[in-house]
């Protein structure tokens, strides 16, 4: 965790409202976007932002030292719990779906990463949205955190509470599925 983040967390722990406001300005949008991806409701996403920051406020003031890889990852990890709470209240749950081809893909090398780049140049937003929607939620989540939030594999592993290798596998599977999905769409069109 950077010195700035540690100082911000320390100020929150000392009960300074302005520090929490600064945290909202720095990470609120990330929490909101992350929750919105999974919940699809702006109201629910705003509730996740609110509940997450309240949880940060309470947890930061506990005397025990927090083991936090990065402030962004910690905050998003808390947000994930809030998202799960909302999903549970809807009668849904976060599906930890395993890919049916996972074992094969775990060891398969990607011979050429360029086809996906070529495919995406031709796809439109709807095709891309459909391809992303077809991904298992944990793969899409890992892909989002990695490419959009710029988190490391370790940070994503902390958020998803899975081993580091599992995150790598999820990203790899997501890539394979997207390529297959976009290629199919292109062939049909």
């Amino acid at each position: 965790m950077s010195h700035a983040d540690a100082a911000l967390l320390e100020n929150i722990a000392s009960g300074q409202h302005q520090a929490l406001r600064q945290l909202l300005q720095q990470h609120g949008h990330a929490i909101y976007g992350y929750a919105l991806r999974r919940l699809g409701s702006a109201d629910d996403a705003e509730e996740v932002v609110n509940d997450t920051l309240l949880a940060v406020w309470r947890q930061a003031q506990r005397p025990r030292q927090l083991q936090i890889p990065s402030l962004r990852a910690w905050v998003l990890g808390i947000a994930r719990h809030k998202i799960v709470d909302i999903l549970r209240s809807r009668g849904q749950h976060w599906r930890e779906t395993a890919d049916e081809e996972g074992q094969l893909l775990d060891t398969a090398a990607d011979p050429d990463p360029s086809p996906l780049d070529r495919l995406c140049q031709d796809c439109d937003d709807i095709q891309l949205a459909n391809a992303l929607a077809a991904l298992p939620s944990v793969q899409r989540e890992a892909l989002y955190l990695f490419t959009y939030e710029g988190l490391s594999l370790a940070e994503i592993a902390a958020i998803q509470q899975v081993p580091l290798a599992t995150v790598g596998t999820r990203l790899h599977l997501a890539r394979q599925r997207l390529r297959r999905s976009l290629a199919t769409t292109e062939a049909v069109s």
């Binding site: 409202h17 909202l24 609110n50 398969a108 892909l143 989002y144 490419t147 890539r175």
Partner: protein, 177 residues
């Protein structure tokens, strides 16, 4: 590229950028002002910072320190005062007659008690006492009596001469102790 690669997905690839643009376009901005107002309403009152808390205590601790400092100074002065400057305790049982102490300080000679006239000049009194060989050894008492000491053999003569002087209002010989 395998799942075990530290970077299983190239962040700067065209597809990564395409995904970022896609998600960016799909994410409306968060109204942080409204979010903060909602959040602030659920927070406990802010604890004042250390300096603010010290400032709040200022009204209490400055008078307290001032009082403590004053008390310490007063104790120090009392401790340093010389013992001689303190008033000795009076013996409550001691009795002093209005006419003065019962025994004249100079016991070597005759003793007379006199009252001088109010209009008598001091210089004339001094001259008279010198002439008679008498000296004031005590007084005045609360009644205005002075104790004179004279030679024992001239006691009666001195008493008569004093009675005759206009400077003297009364002459008495105190009883022997």
């Amino acid at each position: 590229m395998t799942p075990d690669d530290p970077t299983p997905w190239p962040r700067d690839s065209a597809f990564s950028r395409r995904l970022q643009e896609h998600w960016q376009a799909q994410t409306p901005p968060l109204d942080t002002h409204a979010a903060w107002q909602r959040l602030q309403a659920q927070l406990p009152p802010a604890r004042p910072r250390l300096l603010e808390r010290l400032a709040q205590w200022r009204n209490l601790w400055i008078p307290s320190l001032t009082f403590a400092g004053g008390a310490a100074c007063a104790l120090l002065v009392l401790a340093l005062l010389p013992a001689t400057s303190r008033m000795p305790e009076r013996d409550a049982d001691a009795f002093v007659a209005l006419s003065g102490p019962p025994a004249a300080p100079a016991a070597q000679g005759g003793v007379l008690q006199v009252t001088f006239s109010d209009s008598a000049p001091i210089a004339d009194i001094d001259a008279l006492l010198l002439q008679l060989g008498a000296s004031i050894t005590a007084g005045p008492s609360a009644l205005g009596l002075y104790t004179l000491t004279v030679a024992p053999d001239k006691l009666e003569a001195t008493r008569q001469q004093l009675q005759a002087s206009p400077l003297i209002e009364s002459v008495t010989q105190p009883p022997a102790p």
